[in-house]
């Protein structure tokens, strides 16, 4: 019992003494996960909207596939990206394995189905009459989708929160693709695993607390954006 309290005490010391390594690791975690989320939003929202409004064969099957992708195990995404980025793999010329770029790719693949699937279901919740009316008013399809997106923006922020939350907490993919290299690809999650295994519980607790804080701060920011919109209505 005592070692837990001792661990917490030392952890708080580490955090409040501004341990530079912990903060560098936090910065990297934040950068990689935010970048992956941003890319997933840029790709997933248009893709999801397109799937929602278009009629095409096997549409239900595609939606089922995207929904399955929401549960994509990060280690599988990591393995696939590792094989692709390996020097002997098809994208080896990029030299992205064991770099933050590689980790962003892996996390992007994890977030994309989440953002896409949530976009599809949000978009399908928009009354089709509303969509058709906008088209009837002379808007192009793209403009109509944009108007609908503005209607469902609260749900879309929730999608971003879900995607980011998954990524910042994820350890399997970044471990495989990043390699947990100190000062280069060590993330909050992989560092927590390593320090726990080494029995350095103070460091592990400190990094774990920072991980929670990072998640909380980003979600707080997103929630404020979301709720301000609610009030603005």
């Amino acid at each position: 019992m005592e070692f837990i309290l001792e661990g917490f005490r030392k952890a708080l010391q580490l955090i409040f003494s501004g341990n530079p390594e912990i903060f560098a690791i936090a910065r990297l975690s934040l950068t990689v996960s935010l970048a992956a989320t941003a890319l997933a939003v840029l790709a997933g929202v248009p893709l999801g909207s397109w799937i929602a409004v278009k009629k095409f064969p096997l549409k239900k099957l595609l939606i089922a596939l995207v929904n399955t992708g929401m549960g994509l195990p990060p280690v599988v995404a990591g393995l696939v990206v590792m094989l692709l980025l390996a020097r002997s793999g098809p994208l080896g010329f990029l030299n992205w394995l064991y770099t933050p770029k590689g980790m962003i790719v892996a996390q992007f693949i994890i977030a994309l189905p989440i953002i896409t699937a949530l976009s599809v279901s949000a978009m399908q919740n928009v009354d089709p009459k509303f969509y058709n009316q906008i088209l009837a008013l002379g808007a192009s399809e793209r403009q109509a989708v944009w108007v609908c997106l503005k209607e469902i923006r609260l749900t879309m922020v929730a999608a971003v929160i879900a995607g980011f939350g998954r990524l910042v907490a994820e350890v399997g993919a970044v471990m495989i693709v990043g390699g947990n290299i100190r000062h280069q690809t060590r993330m909050l999650t992989t560092a927590t695993v390593m320090e726990t295994q080494m029995g350095n519980f103070d460091m592990a607790i400190a990094i774990g607390l920072v991980l929670l804080a990072v998640g909380f701060i980003v979600n707080l920011a997103l929630t404020l954006i979301q709720q301000n919109k609610v009030l603005a209505r």
Binding site: T31, L34, A38, L42, N95, K101, R182, Q197, G199, I225
Partner: protein, 273 residues
């Protein structure tokens, strides 16, 4: 509308932060073992190696088995491993060159203080393992094809025991993770002395057998064979090779651990020119 745009822009900011690249450095990829990382030696040497700004070292700390798998597919430029039999095979099959055995420390057999299998006092590692097997005592194996795992299998073979009983557990993790499991399960375990010492303050496990010749742990450097893998960074790998096999690094390694752990952790066997 405007808010959404600003929000998207904000989301994209880290994208560009992440892309900031330092002046182009030559990236050298080292595949090595967890024991070298967990003691802190790797970090120390790497800082020194990267100091002049010519190289970025990507040190991937995995088991020796996995390190050599990375070598077999040309993913690594240079290997720092400790699995002699596999290394010889690796060279024979043409995957690497310039194998240089330059460093050693030793393995120790650790067990719970109560020593239920009465291993303490065994001079030979094989005898110690026989007693553990006879008592069907808990034993945690790395089971990850690492150098330590290969050594463990070698000791079981020389003890003439097939390790398979209910409490022979396969961890599939690095040395530190395996030691933590052994600590919790009050089990016997084979560990390299340097990782054990670096974690000793968190462990109640004690050494029950040490000093047998069979327990010596030899580390080698191997360069990836550029004739076989044209994509490897041969010049960078050579630079790291020459760096590790230099007088200053010899001195650093010989001093390493004395201050922190009260004794030298690694013994340098190579005579730098």
């Amino acid at each position: 509308m405007k808010k959404i745009k600003i929000f998207l822009l904000l989301l994209a900011v880290p994208l560009f932060l992440g892309c900031q690249q330092p002046a182009p450095r030559s990236v050298v990829r080292l595949a090595t073992t967890t024991s070298v990382r967990d003691t802190g030696l790797l970090d120390m040497l790497n800082e020194e190696f990267q100091k002049d700004g010519r190289y970025t070292l990507q040190a991937i700390a995995v088991g020796s088995g996995q390190a050599m798998r990375l070598g077999r597919t040309g993913e690594a430029d240079i290997l720092w491993v400790h699995s002699p039999d596999d290394e010889v095979k690796f060279i024979e099959e043409g995957y690497g060159t310039d194998r240089t055995t330059f460093l050693h420390n030793d393995f120790v057999i650790l067990g719970p203080a109560a020593d239920p299998a009465r291993v303490k006092g065994s001079k030979k590692a094989a005898d110690a393992f026989k007693k553990i097997a006879a008592a069907r005592a808990p034993f945690i194996s790395r089971a990850d094809q690492s150098g330590t795992h290969k050594k463990e299998l070698k000791i079981w073979a020389s003890a003439g025991v097939k390790p398979a009983w209910e409490l022979y557990l396969e961890a599939g993790q690095g040395m530190a993770g395996t030691l933590s499991i052994a600590e919790e399960k009050k089990a016997y375990v084979l560990a390299d002395r340097s990782t054990y010492l670096s974690m000793a303050r968190n462990l109640k496990l004690a050494i029950v057998c040490e000093g047998d010749d069979l327990l010596i742990n030899r580390y080698s450097l191997i360069l990836a064979n550029p004739a076989r893998f044209p994509k490897v960074n041969a010049a960078g790998a050579r630079a790291y090779f020459d760096f590790v096999l230099s007088k200053p690094v010899k001195e650093t390694i010989e001093k390493f651990g004395v201050e922190k752990y009260g004794r030298q952790l690694f013994f340098y066997d190579y005579a730098p020119k």
